[in-house]
Symmetry: D2
């Protein structure tokens, strides 16, 4: 490659730093030209350690830099749609952390801007790049399970967020289940057409007081006739539980949890093995690099991104329907 | 034991024969005094091979035999409630195959007769005696998973029944899922208070034409606040899939399938292991003897049977609610 | 079948009782006409409960009964060869518990008697009939692992025998490993040509004082060029450990332990699953019936028994070679 | 840290490149000041891509650079001992790929030079840093398996090396098993005192013609009384098979293979799961970084390295004893 792809990273919180580090260390053909964060002072050492020369406190400097080909949006959720639109208007390719927005109109505005600008847009549903789930998807795609009939996703966190976070999170369906809504679309290759949310507060009363739920079973119908269920808990005592199962006319494909080791200890008392990898950073670390690779590939080869702006919209629509279903106590049909 | 317990078996189809054989071979303290079947001629050889002396074509001879302490009702479903009432009135203890009936009033009539007669009544929900599910229940009971929050049951048959059978079966929820409704009550130790059935026809169109479904996800709410889901298919290509998971505040207990062997073959092509045991006769064979043992124990020690007449009623009520939910497309509340 | 096969059981200790019960309950075409035990009084109730009419204190009554077709020899080891010869001379088919004898000349005398009489002779190496090991053998036989290159057998008991037993046991190689010597012959379909025993006392010093070992690794060479290893311990804290692995040019087949249930409990502390089935009665119960079935089949169909008298001799020869190897501290070649 | 640790890498073949990349990308506190390779031209691009400024064709320039604190020796095996001595004499800390040498006298010369110079010396037995084996070692160290009685190592390659390589490899015991000899010392925390090698040619006749073996079972005795066995094959059809088991008075700890995914596919034909990770680069990638981290820690904290020069000598002694055992057909005692 003659010329390096130049990117700017907007927002240098936990996930922004992960992306920065992955790009610098793993993609020799990409240069992180600048990183922007409202607390620019706090990230100077970090930027320097990676050899990133420009650190801004205003992301607009990145948008305005004509040399920058693509932006990685990792700022706070409420800024995603606005920055997406500005970056699209400036002709930058965009990788945007999920969700684009919780407001459907604002997401639609992003979709329009992206279309108008003709740029690449990818949403950060990193779990699609998890080695296990990717293999299940490949088996489904290759027809190994036949016609999909039932899809099941288990998604449980090791510990609940603080109630303060819950209040501003958009609710469990949009904050946590949104990944699972994307997952069922990815695994089945079909759209959700009906949702019924069976949800409750069993983990932490404070979550209920904050107006949210922490335990849920979401029953789904798909356009292709399949049915599905997602089960969520904000707290699994044994750690991060992330499994999927796709059942079809020819069989089933199941992805179990990853564990730190394969070691089994057998004693007079018990046969014990490892708990799942602790949380998303441990479980999904590789997927953050892999999604980035595919984003750059899409730019360089001018191919569609693997998780488009539409893929950013759909899970929000399902999440809003789940919320409505829970509030009304009955299934909600999604209009296409 | 001085005197043997004397039992009569009513109905000598597949399951009646299994019970007869188990009793004769495994319970030295029980004598099968008589066996009745409308096709008495056809079972004479069978009876003789087990040393059962009396073979009747009319079950009333068993009911009328004052020497007989208990009856095992394995006749066709539509006769269960009637024979139960007659046997109760005659003061016999009763083991009755599931379901008691599909009609709630007739079940209630049985409940009254049983109460009046003061006899032991046990319903044939044999899966409670499966080694795997029993252990999960024990772990739950011993508090090992903490407060139950989510219960999941996977129950899939290896092959669908003929459409003719489907027509008279009472429908999948009452014919197949009824076992799973019993299982969730058993595992959680709580009652189902709401049901939502997400069901469809994906296995065999003939089942749909017969007015039934063959694939379902049934979402449940329990009195103790827990939620649950059952997934059913009339056809799993890889065989009989019978798993449960109970998730609670302290962890989860999962029962996987049984397999014929533990052998794993690793070659250049693949790593392969056994499919589940083929069907219910293979998977649940031991449970048929174990439920019988506990029935006899209840009689001999004058203790409650492990699966009471009420336990026969409840799953029918849930099944009827599931049917209604499916027809109406919304959740149905069960009145206590 | 017109006429039932008539058998006599000689020796009614634990294993004799198991065979008696299996035959009475599982083989309708076989009649246990008599059972003999030096303590005849003690087994009368047992015999009666199974409907066995003749109970003798002298096995010769069985040998002398012209109606009896076959004898099952379960008496103490030191009587096996003598009774085998007498029974063969009387024209009875013989099932003899392992080992035939620890003395090669006496085994050879049995072999000659068997040959002369032209009767069926089967040795009780029941593990060949274990569902797991049988499947491994079938995979090997069907060429699924290719040419056998390495065979590994793990065989560990849950608890050591008392030192008094050890003294008269013939030593670990002949008492315990003998099963494994049979297993490697069975799995590979080849003969052992060299043995090196690396053995020691690590479990119980009293076993060492009794002149025996309790922990061993036995390295083997086979006629077909394969190599193998058996590892033994008289005490595995977690229970009965019985696994095999056959590695060949096309892959490997492994048999893991059986467990009471498939249940896995995941908590904050650990992920725990079942220990292996406790001991040989739990693990190999079915194999005792299956070996008997094949013995009767061989008689009825006049086909070779699956474990011949030669199969009774060979493991003793390997065991004696292992003993010599341990004493001399070097490999011992087996002369054919 | 004020000042960065400066290292020079000697030899830039596959493993040299891995170390270079790991150091540059993962250890911000270490600077790769120079890299030397006899084919310096061929690695210039590689060095540049990592920002390594100095590329030499003569390693002596690294030895002579007073600024360089430590050297990483990844050159061809026959140069390890010579370069080690020169680097030690120059006062550099040394990380040396295994083996130090196949000649015991030359290894002893290295040991002396290291002692004289008082520098840190670490040998590249990377498998000690594998997540699975490390956990087994920790369980053993923490007393979870009690006193070690039996150790078993399975170590099989996915494909044999070419016969030309075999000729100069030092033989399987020194080329391949040497890792396993290190592993049993690591796992047991004890020294091997006797070796018996049961080995043969079953994979490739060309290996036999080159004077080597390709299939082996190596029986071991340890100073602490334990016994052990290593099984090797140069070709496992299903891939890289790397497992260990430590059995002791309190139980056993087993490390299974790593697999690319946890996905299980169940169909009418079979239940299939992943083969092991393909080869050592896949399986042990993380261990290469982890051993380097501990080397740098030892330098910076002035603590002993986790794999000392003595740890480099011992496996060679065992390998030579195994070779002798194979040639003589009997066990060989190792003199301390």
């Amino acid at each position: 490659m003659e010329k390096k792809l130049k990117v700017g990273i907007i927002g240098a919180g936990r996930i922004g730093k992960i992306h920065a580090e992955n790009i610098v260390k793993k993609f020799g053909y990409v240069e992180v030209k600048a990183i922007a964060d409202v607390y620019a002072d706090k990230i100077k050492d970090f930027a320097q350690s990676l050899g990133i020369k420009n650190v801004y406190d205003n992301y607009k400097k990145i948008i305005d830099d004509p040399e920058i080909d693509a932006v990685i949006i990792c700022s706070s959720t409420n800024t995603h749609s606005q920055i997406s639109i500005e970056a699209a208007n400036a002709g930058k390719h965009i990788f945007c952390e999920k969700p684009i927005d919780y407001d459907v109109e604002r997401i639609n505005a992003v979709l329009e801007a992206v279309k108008r600008a003709g740029i690449k847009y990818q949403v950060g549903f990193n779990r699609r790049f998890d080695h296990n789930f990717k293999k299940v998807r490949e088996l489904v795609k290759d027809g190994k399970v036949g016609d999909v009939q039932i899809v099941k996703v288990t998604s449980r966190d090791p510990a609940p967020p603080p109630a303060e976070y819950v209040k501003v999170s958009g609710g469990m369906f949009l904050d946590m289940t949104i990944h699972d809504f994307d997952m069922v679309r990815y695994l089945t290759g079909s759209e959700v057409v009906e949702v019924y949310a069976n949800a409750t507060v069993l983990v932490d009363p404070a979550i209920g007081e904050a107006g949210d739920v922490d335990t849920a079973l979401i029953s789904l119908k798909f356009k292709n006739g399949a049915i599905g269920v997602i089960d969520n808990s904000r707290r699994a005592a044994y750690g991060y539980d992330q499994r999927v199962e796709v059942f079809g006319s020819k069989g089933k494909a199941e992805a179990m949890n990853d564990t730190p080791t394969t070691v089994v200890l057998s004693t007079e008392d018990a046969v014990t093995s490892d708990k799942p990898k602790y949380f998303f950073l441990e479980r999904y670390m590789d997927s953050f690099a892999d999604e980035m690779k595919e984003f750059f590939d899409a730019i360089l080869n001018d191919t569609p991104t693997p998780v488009s702006a539409i893929d950013g919209l759909k899970p929000v629509l399902i999440g809003l329907a789940a919320k409505k279903s829970f509030e009304e106590g009955k299934p909600v049909v999604l209009v296409e």
